[in-house]
């Protein structure tokens, strides 16, 4: 199940969010994505799949995805 959660601050701003979903068949593989932004704006997450692990890191609206 792909799922998303969010928290608003009452002023129209999204203070926190989280997402958990999967790719099936992309690049003929399967990947699971888990990513979230906390109340301080820190974005962190991972993408995991067959023979690959990626990290997601950033702040507010900027982030970097790095696969190794």
């Amino acid at each position: 199940m792909n799922a998303a959660t969010g928290v608003t601050d009452g002023n129209g701003n999204i203070s926190e969010w989280g997402v958990n979903y999967s790719y099936s068949g992309f690049l003929d593989r399967a990947f699971d994505v888990v990513c979230a932004k906390d109340a301080e704006g820190v974005i962190s997450g991972t993408i995991t799949g067959e023979n690959v692990t990626c990290t997601i890191s950033g702040q507010d609206y900027g982030y970097v995805i790095d696969c190794v």
Binding site: M1, N2, A3, A4, T5, G6, V7, T8, D9, G10, N11, G12, N13, I14, W17, V19, Y21, S22, Y23, S24, G25, F26, L27, R29, F31, V33, C35, I47, G49, E50, N51, V52, C54, I56, Y61, Y63, I65, D66, C67, V68
Partner: protein, 171 residues
């Protein structure tokens, strides 16, 4: 040419083939780049979606009274030039329950002819300050990736989609 060189040359294709087979399950740098790019695009879309909901959610959270009507609309520039428009409308019922209809107003004409519609959100539950639900990440025929993207699992619904959401508040 001596025997050592001949043997080496003779084995080179086999070594290369073996190396290729061994690496077959490993992602190439190009594949990693594709994954990074697609994930970044999806997350950008995802954040835009959330931002689009922000004002409406906040409005609905303010001073709910039984019988109050709520409605708001917003449009977000989406993937591959598609614009997504939402209308959410509802009424506060007995006990502060807010029932809402979430309508996606995407218009395929705004995209290329081969484009199918973007993400379909469904099953949201909106609470006073937060919400949760299921999200179908869409990568459809909108994709311009070079022959790699395949449609992700999604709701069978296409086009204008209505989703009923409800919540109970404490106001």
């Amino acid at each position: 040419m001596n025997r050592t060189i001949l043997i080496t040359l003779a084995l080179t294709p086999l070594l290369a083939l073996t190396a290729c087979e061994w690496n077959n399950n490993r992602m190439s740098q190009w594949e990693k780049d594709q994954l990074e790019s697609r994930a970044a695009n999806d997350l950008d879309d995802f954040v835009a979606e959330f931002e689009g909901f922000g004002n409406g959610l906040s409005a609905s959270a303010e001073a709910r009274e039984e019988g109050d009507d709520y409605e708001w609309s917003t449009c977000i520039a989406g993937y591959a030039g598609c614009q997504r428009c939402y209308t959410m409308a509802g009424i506060v019922g007995e006990g502060g329950t807010l029932s809402m209809e979430h309508t996606l107003g995407d218009e395929v004409e705004e995209c290329a002819a081969s484009v199918t519609l973007n993400d379909v959100y469904y099953g949201y539950t909106i609470h006073q300050w937060w919400w949760d639900g299921a999200w179908a990440p869409a990568r459809t025929a909108c994709s311009t990736s070079p022959g790699t993207a395949k449609p992700a699992p999604r709701s069978p619904s296409r086009g204008a989609t209505t989703t009923t959401v409800s919540t109970t508040t404490t106001t």
